[in-house]
C-alpha cells in the first residue's frame, strides 16, 4: 500500500509538473491525467530493461555522434556515462533506458552549450556578463581553463567554485558547484505590479483589438485608431519597417499597401485610405531605392552614387526620427496631424522618389553603361531648373557633381599623366592591346571606346569635349616618350577650377542661366586648364626641336624639286641614260648616289636619309627601247626620305605617297622638256636634211610642245605648289594642337594633288597629258630618224660625189665621216652602238641610233612629213581635249581646285587660240 501510495504521490507530482494543471485548479483534468498515468504505469506490456541492450544503444549513439563529426558531444556523453558506471547505481541502466526513450534526435538538437545552461550557480542579477553569452560567441570560452586564468572585467568571485578539468579541446567541464538556487523558468517572470499599465499597453496594441458587439466579432467593421497611432505607423512604414497599417507585398521589391481594416474616427474612410495610399506609394519607392542602394557594386562610379543615395536616406531617417521625437517627448504643445507630417516630409520624399525613379529606369535599361545615371542626373537637373523647381535643381545638381568628381578621376590622370588604368571599362579612352611602335603612338595606340551603334562611350554632355581630352592625353604620352615631361612641369600649372554645384550654379547670381550652359562653360575651362600646356608644349617642341619647318623644306626640295638646278642635276643623267639605251638607268644604287649628290646639297636635306627605291618594270617595258618612248615608265622611281618619328606624327606616311605622285609627274614633264630642249638649234642640221615645210612644221610643233610643257610646269610649280605650301605653313603655325596640324597637312596635300591634275576625277586628263608628253619624245625621235636618214642619203650622195669627183680628179671638202649607220628603213634588228653617241660632247646625244628601234612597232612607213602632220593633229586634239575637260570639270566643281583647273584651262585655250587662228575660242 505504501508502495502504491508513494507511486500515487509521485505520479501526482509528475502530472502537475508536466501539465501545469494543478489539483486545485482543474481537478477534472488533473484526475483524468493521473488516472490514465497510473493505469499506464501499472498495466503495461513492456519487458524489463535489458542492460546490455541499453549500453549497446549508448555505444551506438556514441559512434553515431563521432561519425557525424560531433566529437565533443560524444566525449561529453562518454564522460558522463563513465561517471554513472562508476557510481554503481542499482537503477542506472533503467534510468538510462528512460532517457534513451525520451531522447529526441540528439544529433540534430543537442547542443553542448545547453550543458552550460545547466550550470548557473550564481544568480543572474550579479554579473552583467553572462557565461552563456560569452560561450555562445566564443568557443574558446567554454573551456573553463581559459576562463579562469584571465580575469575578464565582469567576472565575479562566484566563479571560483568551478573546477578546472583539463580537456583537450572545447569540451565542457562539469559543474561541481552546488547551489541551492536552481534556475527555473518561473524566475524569469517579470513581476508586474500594476495592472493599469498592462491595460494601457494592451489598448495601444490596436491591431489586436477586434471590434465586437456582445462578444460577436465583426470582421468587416474597420478598427478605429487614433491619429497619433496612424502617424506612428506611417513613420515606421517610411522607415521601412513592417507595420500593421500597411501590408507588404513582395514582388521583386517591397510594395506597401494600406490595410483595409483600419479607419480614423474623425475622418472618412475613403479620404484616409487615399492619404494612406499616397504615403504607401512613397514608402514603396523609398524601399526600392534602399534596396538598390545596398546592392554590391564594383565600379567606383556606381559606388559613389550609392553612397550619396544612402546619405540622403540617412538624412531622411533622421528627419523621421526628429518628427517622432516631437511626438514621443513633446517639449511644447504639439499638434497631432497626419497631414502636417506629410507636409513636412514632402520635400525630402520628392527628391527621394525622383532618385527612386532614376534607379528604376537604370534597372530596366538594357546595356546601360555605368555613367548612364550621370546622364539622367544631368537631364533631371536641367529639367528641374527649367521647371523652376529650385529645390530639386539644387538637390540634383549637388548629387550630379558629387558623382561627377569620381568620373573625373580617370580623365584627370589621363590628361595629366597620360596614363590609363588597366581594367577601367568606363572611361572612353582605351589602349589597344599589343605592342605598338613609337610611330603609331599618335594614331593607333590609343583609341576612343565606342558603343555598338558607333557613338562615343561617354556621357552625352561630354561628347563635344571628348576629342580635346583625347588629344591632351596623347600629347602627354608623346611628350613622355620624348622625355620632355619636365619641360611641361616647369610651367606653372593653373589650378584646375573646382567643379561643384555651389560655386558653379550659384543660385543667387546665376539662377536664370541654363544648367547646360553653366556646365559646358565650366567643364571647358577645366579642360583648358589641363589641355593648354600639354598641347602647346608639344607643338613648340615639334617646331623648334625637331624642325618641322626644315622637314617641310626638305620634302619640298626633294619631291617638288624646288631648286630647279639640283633637280635637273638629278634627272638629266637618267634621261640621258634612257636615251642612250643604257639599261642601268634604273639602277637603284646609282640613282641613290645621284639623288644624294644632287639633293644633298640642299640646306635642309640630310643625304643619309634619302634613298631611292625602284619598282620592278612590267614585262612589256623590259626592253629599254620600248620603255624609253613613254614617260609612264618613270613612275617606277620612288624617293624615300626618312623623317624622325615625332615629325611623322604630323607628316603621316600616307601623305608621303601623294608627294611621290607629284614628284613622278614632275619628272615626267621634265623628261619631255629635256628631250625637246636638248637639241641645240644653233647647229642646225635640219636645214640640210629636210625641206622647209618639214622644218617649219617641225619647229612649230616643237614650239607648241615646249609651250605646253612649260605652261604645265609653270602651272604646277608656281600656281599650285607654291601658294598651297605657303598657306599650309601659315596654317600649321596657326594650328592649336596636333590633330589640327595633322588635319592641315593632310588636307593640304590632298588639295595639292587634286590641283595638280592627279586626282581621281581628272584621271583621263592626266592620261591625255602623258600622251602629249609622249608626243614630245616621238617628235624628237622622228626628227632624229629623219635627220639620220637624210644624213645617210646625204652621205651616200657625198660619197658618190666624192667618188665621182675623185674619178674626175677633184677634191671635195671632207666632212667628218661618221661610221656607217644602218639603213634606216630596212633593218629591224636593234643594235645599239654607243661610240657614235659618245663622240663629241656628251650633251650632243644623237638620236639617230634609235632610228631602227623607232620602226619596230610601226609597219606603215609614213614619211617624215606625214608623221609630223599626224603629230600635229594629235597635239591639237589632245590639248583641246585637256583644256575643255578642265573647263568642264571646273564648272562642275567648286572651290580652290576648280579655280586652279579653270586657270590652267584658260591658259591652254589661250595658247591654242593664238597658235591657230582658224580655231576660235571655245567656251
Amino acid at each position: 500500500m505504501a508502495h502504491i501510495a508513494k507511486l500515487g504521490a509521485l505520479t501526482d507530482e509528475l502530472v502537475a509538473l508536466l501539465t501545469s494543471a494543478s489539483a486545485d485548479g482543474e481537478p477534472a483534468k488533473f484526475n483524468a491525467h493521473k488516472e490514465s498515468a497510473l493505469r499506464a504505469l501499472r498495466n503495461h506490456n513492456y519487458p524489463r530493461t535489458n542492460q546490455f541492450d541499453v549500453w549497446n544503444r549508448l555505444d551506438g549513439l556514441d559512434e553515431k555522434f563521432r561519425v557525424y563529426n560531433e566529437d565533443q558531444l560524444a566525449d561529453a556523453l562518454k564522460e558522463r556515462l563513465q561517471k554513472i558506471s562508476r557510481l554503481e547505481g542499482k537503477w542506472s541502466s533503467e534510468i538510462l533506458h528512460l532517457l534513451l526513450e525520451l531522447s529526441d534526435k540528439p544529433l540534430a538538437n543537442s547542443k553542448l552549450k545547453d550543458l552550460d545552461l545547466l550550470k548557473e550557480p550564481e544568480p543572474q542579477t550579479e554579473t552583467p556578463l553572462r557565461w552563456k553569452d560569452l560561450a555562445a560567441n566564443d568557443p574558446l570560452l567554454r573551456d573553463k581553463h581559459v576562463w579562469r586564468n584571465v580575469d575578464f572585467g565582469a567576472e565575479s568571485s562566484d566563479e571560483d567554485g568551478l573546477s578546472d578539468i583539463s580537456m583537450p579541446t572545447e569540451t565542457t567541464t562539469q559543474s561541481s558547484v552546488e547551489d541551492d538556487v536552481d534556475i527555473h523558468p518561473n524566475d524569469h517572470v517579470v513581476d508586474v505590479s500594476s495592472e493599469e499599465k498592462l491595460i494601457e499597453l494592451r489598448e495601444a496594441q490596436f491591431w489586436l483589438k477586434t471590434p465586437s458587439i456582445n462578444g460577436v466579432k465583426l470582421e468587416t467593421v474597420k478598427k478605429p485608431i487614433t491619429e497619433l497611432q496612424a502617424i506612428r505607423e506611417v513613420l515606421f512604414m517610411l522607415a521601412g519597417f513592417p507595420t500593421s497599417l500597411f501590408e507588404v507585398r513582395t514582388e521583386g521589391s517591397k510594395i506597401f499597401e494600406p490595410c483595409k481594416g483600419y479607419a480614423l474616427r474623425h475622418a472618412s474612410p475613403d479620404s484616409f485610405r487615399k492619404l494612406l495610399k499616397s504615403l504607401a506609394a512613397d514608402g514603396s519607392s523609398i524601399t526600392f531605392l534602399k534596396s538598390w542602394a545596398i546592392r554590391p557594386q564594383h565600379i567606383p562610379l556606381l559606388q559613389v552614387f550609392q553612397a550619396a543615395i544612402l546619405k540622403h536616406i540617412a538624412e531622411f531617417d533622421g528627419l523621421l526620427s526628429r518628427i517622432q521625437e516631437r511626438f514621443v517627448d513633446p517639449a511644447d504643445d504639439v499638434v497631432v496631424s497626419l497631414l502636417l507630417v506629410k507636409e513636412e516630409i514632402s520635400s525630402y520624399i520628392r527628391s527621394l522618389i525622383c532618385l527612386s525613379e532614376l534607379t528604376k529606369r537604370l534597372d530596366t535599361e538594357p546595356y546601360a553603361h555605368a555613367f548612364r545615371y550621370l546622364e539622367m542626373l544631368y537631364e533631371q537637373a536641367s529639367i528641374s531648373q527649367m521647371g523652376g523647381d529650385e529645390e530639386m535643381y539644387a538637390f540634383m545638381g549637388t548629387l550630379f557633381f558629387e558623382c561627377f568628381q569620381v568620373y573625373l578621376r580617370p580623365i584627370r590622370t589621363w590628361m595629366e599623366e597620360g596614363e590609363l588604368e588597366k581594367e577601367d571599362k568606363v572611361f572612353f579612352v582605351a589602349e589597344s592591346s599589343g605592342e605598338m611602335d613609337t610611330l603609331s603612338i599618335w594614331q593607333a595606340r590609343f583609341k576612343l571606346r565606342q558603343t555598338q551603334d558607333g557613338t562615343l562611350h561617354a556621357p552625352n554632355f561630354l561628347q563635344a569635349a571628348a576629342g580635346k581630352i583625347f588629344t591632351t592625353g596623347k600629347s602627354v604620352v608623346v611628350l613622355k616618350h620624348l622625355n620632355k615631361v619636365s619641360l611641361m612641369e616647369s610651367f606653372e600649372r593653373i589650378l584646375e577650377p573646382s567643379l561643384d554645384f555651389a560655386t558653379l550654379c550659384n543660385p543667387a547670381a546665376l539662377q536664370l542661366v541654363p544648367f547646360v550652359e553653366l556646365f559646358d562653360g565650366a567643364f571647358d575651362a577645366w579642360i583648358r586648364s589641363k589641355h593648354q600646356y600639354a598641347s602647346s608644349t608639344l607643338r613648340k617642341i615639334l617646331f623648334d626641336q625637331f624642325g618641322l619647318c626644315s622637314s617641310l623644306d626638305a620634302l619640298s626640295g626633294i619631291y617638288f624639286m624646288a631648286d630647279g638646278a639640283q633637280g635637273s642635276a638629278f634627272t638629266n643623267p637618267s634621261y640621258d641614260k634612257l636615251d642612250t639605251l643604257d639599261v642601268t638607268w634604273n639602277d637603284r644604287f646609282a640613282l641613290t648616289e645621284l639623288a644624294r649628290g644632287a639633293f644633298g646639297t640642299l640646306p635642309s636635306v640630310s643625304p643619309d636619309r634619302l634613298r631611292i627605291a625602284v619598282l620592278p618594270l612590267s614585262r612589256k617595258n623590259q626592253d629599254i627601247g620600248r620603255c624609253r618612248r613613254t614617260v609612264k615608265v618613270l613612275s617606277i622611281i620612288e624617293l624615300k626620305y626618312q623623317l624622325s618619328w615625332p615629325i611623322q606624327i604630323i607628316l603621316t606616311p600616307d601623305t608621303i605617297s601623294s608627294y611621290q605622285r607629284i614628284f613622278t609627274f614632275l619628272i615626267q614633264i621634265r623628261r619631255s622638256s629635256h628631250i625637246l630642249s636638248r637639241q641645240r638649234l644653233a647647229t642646225d642640221l635640219l636645214t640640210i636634211t629636210s625641206s622647209s615645210d618639214e622644218r617649219s612644221l617641225y619647229y612649230s610643233l616643237r614650239t607648241r610642245l615646249l609651250w605646253f610643257i612649260q605652261a604645265l610646269y609653270y602651272y604646277i610649280s608656281c600656281l599650285v605648289l607654291e601658294p598651297s605650301s605657303c598657306k599650309m605653313r601659315e596654317d600649321l603655325e596657326a594650328a592649336v594642337d596636333i590633330d589640327s596640324m595633322v588635319q592641315v597637312h593632310s588636307s593640304y596635300i590632298k588639295s595639292t594633288v587634286n590641283q595638280a591634275l592627279l586626282g581621281s576625277k581628272l584621271e583621263l586628263i592626266h592620261k591625255t597629258i602623258l600622251k602629249i608628253l609622249d608626243l614630245a619624245i616621238k617628235l624628237e625621235d622622228a626628227q632624229a630618224a629623219n635627220a639620220a636618214g637624210a644624213k645617210d642619203t646625204m652621205d651616200r650622195q657625198q660619197e658618190m660625189m666624192d667618188l665621182s669627183m675623185a674619178s674626175l680628179g677633184l677634191h671635195t671638202p671632207q666632212k667628218p665621216r661618221r661610221p656607217s649607220k644602218f639603213s634606216p628603213r630596212n633593218l629591224k634588228v636593234a643594235n645599239p652602238k654607243d661610240e657614235a653617241s659618245s663622240d663629241d660632247e656628251e650633251k650632243d646625244i644623237d638620236l639617230s641610233i634609235l632610228s631602227s628601234t623607232l620602226l619596230e612597232g610601226d609597219e606603215t612607213e609614213l614619211s617624215y612629213f606625214e608623221k609630223l602632220l599626224e603629230m600635229r593633229a594629235d597635239f591639237d586634239r589632245l590639248v583641246r581635249f585637256v583644256a575643255n575637260g578642265l573647263r568642264g570639270v571646273a564648272r562642275a566643281g567648286g572651290g580652290q581646285e576648280a579655280r586652279s583647273w579653270d586657270t590652267l584651262g584658260e591658259m591652254l585655250e589661250a595658247g591654242l587660240g593664238d597658235g591657230n587662228g582658224s580655231i576660235g575660242r571655245s567656251y
Binding site: H44, L77, E94, L99, E101, L102, L118
Partner: protein, 82 residues
Amino acid sequence: MPSEANRKQDKEIMAAQARQVIDVFHEISTLLNADLDRQTLSICISLIENGVNPEALASVIKELKKDAEETQKEILQSRGQR
C-alpha cells in the same frame, strides 16, 4: 553526540552524492535532448527506483507532454482571439 554528527555528515555526504547523481543524469538527458528538467527527472528516478518500468514511464511522460502542449495551444489561441 558524535554518532549523530557522523550520521549528519553521512547524510550530507549521501545528499551530496545523490545530487551528483542527479546532476550527471540531468546532463545526460540534456545531451540526449530528452527535455527533462531537474524536478521531473528526480521524480522519474524515484518512480523507477520504486519499480516502475522505464518504457512505460517514458510513454506516460510523452502523453502528458502532448496533452500539455495541446492545452497550451488552446490557451494561446483563446488569448489571441480576445
